[in-house]
């Protein structure tokens, strides 16, 4: 009589992860910058920062997101950028905010979000994250699904998130392109896109693709089927990329959206964010990347990353991880709470660890997730400081999204994407008091006028009120 309903679970397990890495990825042997000038500029960002006045924070405690900690420091912002960090800054005529006993960190960045493509409420009409109609859908772009009025953006902002990377789900071997956004709700998608941020390509290992297509008696239905699917697509992509190199335009292949994406990866312009849980599968994906000469930026949801921590450090691949989620499927069975810390500490601390959410609640508390991961690492003997652990939710995800030159740390010249916390951000009792994006106040807990309300929220329960947040 009782048909168990696993809807939330299925929705979730279909969702997947991806992540990206940093620059200098000119692995492709055939750069083709002038072949298709239209591709690069299509759907480009039109983001413009909100107006801002210069602000001087006085006597703040600061984690710079790179491992540095500064007590009682001043921080001057101007024209949307970080202008100066110092022990005693004076700037006549500038708005001064006393930040005594407050903590300032870089804006939190989530490398794995489905906000806007799995919007709230989670109804079928908003389920836009998985083009689960074919195992290779490198032609789809997550940003083309984005619902700009998703109320989850504002909730994430309240949790200190200033930028996030939106990925397609993990139903497919190649799920499509991901894109990075500034967390300012606007009414066009392009107006939210992070200027200059590279695209990613979401790939997925393991249970999800083989379950989705295996249930339909289609390939892939096994892990070996997954591998064959990736390899076939890359063979096509190499041929396409070589063809696009032809001097004679008549000999070039007909333009193909999926192949454009794979070519972008081979040319080092698109970053691979690879949903992959198991150690041997990650190692296999690394082999695959070598077979076809591309770079993996990050493995996402990598519950078993700790088993191959040194390999990931040697290959310069980040691991984007939960602090402790497990057990929802077989490939998520071998969870250890020290996973993030083990990745971080691999090869004398050269590993790249990221704490990600993949979840609209989790994204609001990435500071707490980092706190758990740090404590778990220190319980097994590491000596990881809070200042260091702050990297896991700021500069490391910025690196993986390819935006570290603009945001992700508190350094002179960077975008003034910042969070002012009521106390130390590693405590559950600390909450984001102010959030700044490009130097403009995007959220202020003490000023309802500086708390975004999406169109969805307006008058939806009672016409007189906005939806409570």
């Amino acid at each position: 009589m009782n048909n168990k309903v696993l809807l939330p679970l299925l929705l979730f397990t279909i969702i997947s992860c991806s992540e990206s890495f940093n620059i200098d990825l000119s692995f492709g042997d055939s750069a083709s910058d002038s072949i298709n000038p239209g591709i690069d500029n299509a759907f480009a960002s039109t983001y413009a920062p909100m107006n801002s006045e210069p602000i001087l924070f006085k006597s703040a405690n600061i984690y710079d997101g790179l491992g540095g900690e500064f007590r009682n420091y001043d921080l001057l912002l101007s024209e949307g950028k970080i202008l100066e960090i110092g022990e005693s800054i004076t700037a006549p005529g500038v708005m001064v905010i006393d930040a005594t006993d407050k903590w300032i960190t870089p804006g939190i960045i989530d490398i794995h979000s489905h906000m806007g493509v799995y919007s709230a409420p989670g109804v079928s009409t908003s389920s836009d994250g998985n083009e689960a109609t074919s195992p290779v859908t490198a032609e789809v772009w997550a940003e083309h699904s984005l619902w700009t009025q998703d109320p989850q953006f504002a909730l994430a902002l309240k949790g200190g998130v200033t930028a996030f990377h939106v990925l397609p789900g993990s139903a497919n071997l190649f799920g499509g392109r991901g894109a990075t956004f500034k967390n300012i709700s606007q009414n066009t998608i392009q107006a939210m896109k992070f200027p200059g941020a590279p695209h990613s390509l979401k790939m997925a290992c393991g249970e999800n693709p083989k379950r989705v297509y295996g249930n339909r008696k289609k390939a892939p239905s096994t892990r070996m089927g997954n591998m064959a699917g990736y390899r076939s697509a890359w063979i096509d992509a190499v041929e396409y990329t070589d063809g696009m190199d032809e001097k004679n335009s008549d000999r070039r292949p007909t333009r193909d959206l999926a192949m454009d994406t794979l070519m972008g990866v081979l040319n080092g312009e698109i970053l691979i964010q690879n949903h992959c849980y198991r150690a041997e599968e990650m190692a296999m994906m690394i082999e695959l990347s070598k077979e076809f000469n591309y770079k993996i930026t990050a493995f996402h949801h990598a519950v078993e990353a700790y088993k191959i921590a040194d390999l990931l450090a040697d290959e310069g691949i980040c691991a984007a991880l939960w602090a402790d989620w497990w057990g929802f499927k077989h490939e998520a069975y071998d969870m250890v709470q020290a996973n993030v810390a083990i990745i971080d500490q691999a090869r004398n601390g050269t590993g790249c660890a990221i704490v990600h959410s993949d979840d609209a609640v989790g994204i609001q508390h990435l500071n707490q997730e980092a706190a758990k991961a740090m404590a778990a690492g220190n319980r097994v003997g590491y000596k990881i400081s809070k200042a260091h652990a702050m990297r896991w939710i700021t500069s490391n995800p910025a690196k993986a999204a390819g935006i570290l030159d603009q945001t992700g740390s508190i350094e002179v010249g960077k975008d003034a994407d910042l969070v002012v916390w009521t106390g130390n951000p590693f405590s559950v009792y600390s909450i984001a008091e102010k959030v700044l994006i490009d130097g403009a106040l995007a959220f202020d807990m003490n000023n309802p006028k500086i708390q975004p309300i999406t169109d969805f929220d307006l008058g939806i329960i009672k016409p007189q009120d906005n939806r409570v947040q």
Partner: protein, 414 residues
């Protein structure tokens, strides 16, 4: 490697059955009752707390464990879990939380696996007992939950079929139909007072609803015998409907989720109904929960409504600490948070001998390495019914294996 595991090793050594008396000396004791924590000693004899105070008389045979001011709480009790009945959610062959045959009378008690890996994991994170429940189903009542002691013993300790679990809201047809169905089921339960179950089974409605004898007997317990009935619901008007049903049928109602409860606060308050909430879920996941907010915990607490905690995801029921910590960050009182993970659960579900640190109660006790509401804190000592528990888990074993840098295959690192 040994250095890394000093803390664990210490606990390992003591992870045996203690007989006689034990004194936990000088802990900052959060009793689970009202009132702030104070530094006190706790005297345990066999499986029972026999004394709490500062100058307890002990004899030479009493084993003294110095707690040195660390926080001490009652063992945490999860009010809604899948512990022992679901190993891996996506693998049906590892799940025992659903029935095709039974509905209201579906008991998961006999499916409980004390060796499930979730048990040592949650135990080492501070959960000493839990109510495990059947899963959500298309029928508005899923079945009966049971309480289990998480000591991993094959001699299963717990209380069988202590509460019924159901839902009211969107998803499966009209909620008007759900309400009507719930009322019909309660009416059937009422019939048991005057008609034997065999006769009820012969009725058309029982046949139409495919009810089995177990279902009818269980409905009788809710309708006539004050068994707690937990209804998961969110929309303000649905909460009112559930409260009306409580009044009409004299139910021992517990409401779960209740994300729009602040809109019907007075009625909820008057009805004296305890609630189970996930304080971190502020997402309007459906059109039933548009009023979802991080302020829920504070608002319910200020209205004096008894609060317990669920978690967003399976397998980590100890994360109700993080949830209640977030509730405190948004204005819930600290004592309400501790109580909500201990005594409120015990009182609501009639687990009379657990949930607080006071003489006469079973000695389910946690000593924490820091503030228990900080997610980064961890138990140093877990005691269940007077026995110190091993804090290892499959997860700690994997950690140990993979931080071992010896040059040999990992399968030989044990």
């Amino acid at each position: 490697m040994k250095r890394l595991f000093t803390t664990l090793a210490l606990v390992f050594f003591t992870a045996t059955t203690l007989s006689g008396t034990v004194l936990l000396k000088g802990g900052l004791v959060h009793s689970g009752n009202d009132g702030a924590a104070t530094v006190q000693d706790i005297l345990i004899s066999e499986n029972i707390i026999v004394g709490v105070g500062n100058n307890l008389m002990i004899d030479g045979n009493t084993r003294v464990i110095e707690v040195n001011g660390l926080p001490v709480t009652p063992g945490l009790i999860s009010p809604m879990s899948n512990l022992g009945i679901v190993e891996i959610n996506a693998l049906d062959v590892t799940r025992d939380d659903e029935s095709d045959l039974l509905s209201a009378g579906f008991s998961i008690f006999n499916a409980f696996n004390p060796h499930s890996t979730g048990i040592p994991w949650n135990r080492s994170n501070g959960i000493t007992s839990a109510i495990s429940t059947p899963s959500t189903s298309s029928f508005p009542i899923f079945g009966l939950g049971s309480h289990f002691v998480l000591d991993g013993s094959l001699e299963i300790k717990g209380s069988k079929d202590i509460a019924m679990f159901g839902r009211l809201g969107s998803s499966y047809g009209s909620r008007a139909e759900t309400l009507s169905l719930l009322e019909s089921l309660l009416e059937i339960g009422k019939l048991l007072k005057s008609i034997p179950v065999e006769e009820i089974l012969e009725m058309t409605i029982a046949d139409k609803l495919e009810l089995q004898a177990q279902d009818i007997i269980a409905l009788g317990k809710v309708a006539n015998d004050d068994m707690p009935f937990v209804i998961e619901t969110n929309r303000a008007v649905d909460i009112l409907q559930a409260l009306a049903m409580k009044k009409k049928y004299g139910l021992n109602l517990v409401l779960a989720s209740v994300e729009e409860a602040p809109m019907v606060l007075t009625k909820l308050q008057e009805s004296n109904t305890p609630v189970i909430i996930d304080p971190m879920d502020n997402i309007p996941n459906s059109f039933d929960e548009l009023g979802s907010s991080l302020d829920l915990g504070r608002i319910l607490d200020q209205a004096g409504i008894p609060i317990m905690f669920s978690t967003q995801r399976s397998h980590n029921y100890h994360l109700m600490r993080q949830g209640s910590g977030n509730a405190v960050a948004h204005g819930m009182s600290y004592e309400t948070a501790i109580k909500g993970m201990t005594q409120t659960v015990a009182q609501t579900f009639n687990l009379d001998n657990r949930g607080s640190i006071e003489p006469g109660k079973l000695a389910d006790i946690i000593v924490w390495d820091g503030d228990p509401l900080e997610p980064a804190s961890f138990p140093k000592i877990v005691m269940i019914e007077g026995r110190l528990q091993d804090l290892s888990s499959r997860s700690s074993k994997l950690t140990e294996r993979y931080i071992n840098k010896e040059d040999k295959p990992s399968s030989y690192k044990h």
